[in-house]
Symmetry: C2
């Protein structure tokens, strides 16, 4: 079953919005062992939508569409789909009842503009949307399935999860695609490739390898396709095992995981607590850590100290260090770790201080200079980085490398056994 995706929206082609819907849809489809074959992103224009429908229906069996279903003037997807399928738009009372059910409790009257929403291509199966006014649409014609969903992320996600995925399951059969990923830190793509590829010479042709690098991390993904899922799973396990053994000290996890998730697992497993003291990361490190459900079990909190006097007042960094060496210094981040451990009474702390930019750089400490420290009250390690000239990238890289360094630090098992 070949599945295509058509994303409709000027705002995406203009770069005003990052298209996160496509990733959400791809993940949901992938969990069913399916894969998005190809994606079109087109403007809010009827002829462009129809051209994408022509191309995608020639190349695939299921065409998922998102965007352009709503009460305002830029709603043209439905009309384009009806024209393409050569079906009339007819007034649909299911959509009208739904509209009233959503709006009445909020005391909002149904306007003429909103009644336009109730015109739906003939013989459409409407898909429930408990998150908004526009229902999803499921249309079958000449062996193809056309699905149209609103572009609002949580509305689209509701319809995908509750209607589209269950319905697709009924259609699915035959060829399976399965994946497994090894998540590494601290090694480059080329080094990994040169170490593992000689070990994978005998890997069968129906398994392929890909490398996905980002900020000190590389994900190595094996993909197998075929009909014998059990056998494919065994093969993947075997080759994943080979990769894991070769890269052992750098493997942070297997499968869909993240630095913050693996760090959390490690802390929870050993009943240790963590707090952060952040200058240049400005709360982003705490945000990454607290994005994990249950992080309150091991994460106590953070002090974001964006000015020197706050570093003194809340983290007990000495005025002498700030005067003599500045806030972006090894001595300062060491004091921040100590002060943070004390303030939160935590086992461990991570501290960041740097020049995120674009202003604030000097010849000595150019934009992108970042000091990171991590450890306990008694055992602290530090590292200096020279990142880029871009503010957001510096913040993200600082947080990623701070977690990588601290994860490696925790992994020295003897250390975890010692009580702090």
């Amino acid at each position: 079953m070949k599945i295509s995706l058509i994303v409709i929206g000027d705002e995406i082609l203009l770069g005003q919005v990052i298209d996160s819907n496509a990733a959400t849809i791809a993940k949901l489809v992938y969990q069913e062992g399916l894969q998005i074959y190809k994606k079109w992103t087109v403007a809010d224009k009827s002829d462009e939508i129809q051209l994408a429908l022509i191309e995608s229906s020639q190349q695939s069996d299921v065409i998922l569409m998102t965007g352009g279903l709503g009460p305002t003037k830029d709603d043209i997807t439905k009309k384009s789909l009806a024209d393409f399928l050569m079906r009339p738009l007819v007034f649909n009372t299911v959509q009208k009842d739904h509209l009233e059910k959503i709006l009445k409790p909020r005391g909002i009257p149904v306007t003429e503009m909103q009644l336009h929403q109730c015109y739906i291509p003939d013989q459409t199966v409407l898909l429930d949307n408990q998150m908004g006014t526009a229902l999803g649409m499921w249309i079958e014609q000449q062996g193809k399935i056309y699905v149209s969903m609103p572009g609002v992320p949580y509305e689209m996600e509701f319809i995908m999860k509750h209607s589209v995925i269950p319905k697709l399951r009924n259609y699915q059969a035959g060829n399976r695609i399965i994946h497994q990923t090894v998540f590494t830190v601290g090694l480059g793509e080329t080094e990994i490739a040169s170490r593992i590829e000689p070990l994978l010479i005998n890997m069968p042709e129906h398994i392929s390898i890909a490398y996905l690098p980002s900020q000190g991390q590389v994900k190595i993904r094996l993909t197998a396709s075929g009909s014998d899922e059990e056998n494919m799973q065994q093969e993947l396990d075997e080759y994943i095992g080979i990769i894991q053994t070769e890269l052992e000290a750098s493997v942070i996890g297997i499968g869909e995981t993240s630095l913050e998730r693996e760090l959390g697992k490690l802390l929870k497993e050993h009943h240790k607590s963590l707090a952060t003291a952040e200058s240049c990361t400005g709360g982003y490190l705490a945000h990454r850590i607290t994005s994990i459900p249950g992080s309150s079990d091991y994460f106590l909190g953070s002090v974001v100290a964006y000015q020197n006097r706050i570093k003194e007042a809340l983290l007990n960094v000495s005025n002498e260090i700030l005067e003599a060496q500045g806030a972006v210094s090894e001595a300062c981040v060491i004091e921040m770790v100590k002060g943070c451990c004390r303030k939160f009474n935590s086992d461990f702390a991570i501290a960041t201080s740097g020049i995120a930019g674009p202003g604030g750089g000097s010849p000595d400490k150019p934009v992108g200079t970042v000091w990171i420290a991590y450890g306990s009250k008694t055992q602290i390690e530090t590292k200096k980085f020279q990142f880029t000239r871009d503010r957001i990238r510096n913040i993200e890289a600082s947080a990623s490398f701070a977690m990588i360094l601290f994860w490696k630090f925790l992994k020295s098992k003897e250390f975890l056994k010692v009580d702090n």
Copy 2:
């Protein structure tokens, strides 16, 4: 000049990675008054890449490609492009010199795998990449331009900014597309539409309107296309003025802006300082605020208090309140604002406390219950929200609504004049 984009990468179609490159490219192109006409996202497979090249070259003049240029096994873009253009791959010494220039200072030897990178389609103009080993490629054939760039975001961005955009400028002429955006908070899409569309009845056909809603915010975008840029700009200004006047109290800014940017402007203008006390947002609010360059001028810092004892110790929330009403209560966020203003000696503070989920909910306080407080030591306002069951969405919505509420609070001019 019609510009297409082909994004290559299994990882995007699998949903493992959100495609931020497309938004970056679209923005850079848009700044030149150009627009991405259409985007294809395809798998790392030669026949899929070639099919996308056939489709896009039939429909556009410039084909930008990103992804699949690198030293490892999954590098097939170059081969597919060469096959499509029917050009041989020839060994290119410019690429080889560049490879050595990047790797030598790092003490990395040039491997056989990397030398493969030096085979480039015949008659290609190579584009400088100071961020990585793979140079960009610019190929002209039969009146079309083909550009291939690596998928690593900062490498792609470097090549776009330093080579592709300047070269495209030389080709550009004729039709212009211009946009302007009004950024509002606190109104729904339908309410806005019903208020402004009657005022825009006489808007000429070459100007179109679109609504981009998200978390309490709606961006209203007008797009004009034509050849007389000066006249179009005047027309846009006129209609933007009409919209702005009608929605005045809810307009946060004009053009490409954000809540955190407008909030920062307001604080800076009035020489006021802000700190945050965060529970459920876990540092994300501070991160949003500190993502703005120069935010250290008005933002002092944050206390992320992820446990009750930290709320007591660092923010002086009384134990009685925590015992009697819990951390997710109006009384608690009020104390957090007071404690935060005192701790940081700030003019203002914002506090959040809620149940982000997925665990921790109760019948009384289900997942998604969030209390927000904001103000000064002496004047504090609060609001309770009931968001969704999704953790990340709850964190993001809490931060957005906290900034919206605080922005509205600050806008009461008399308040800003009073010293705190």
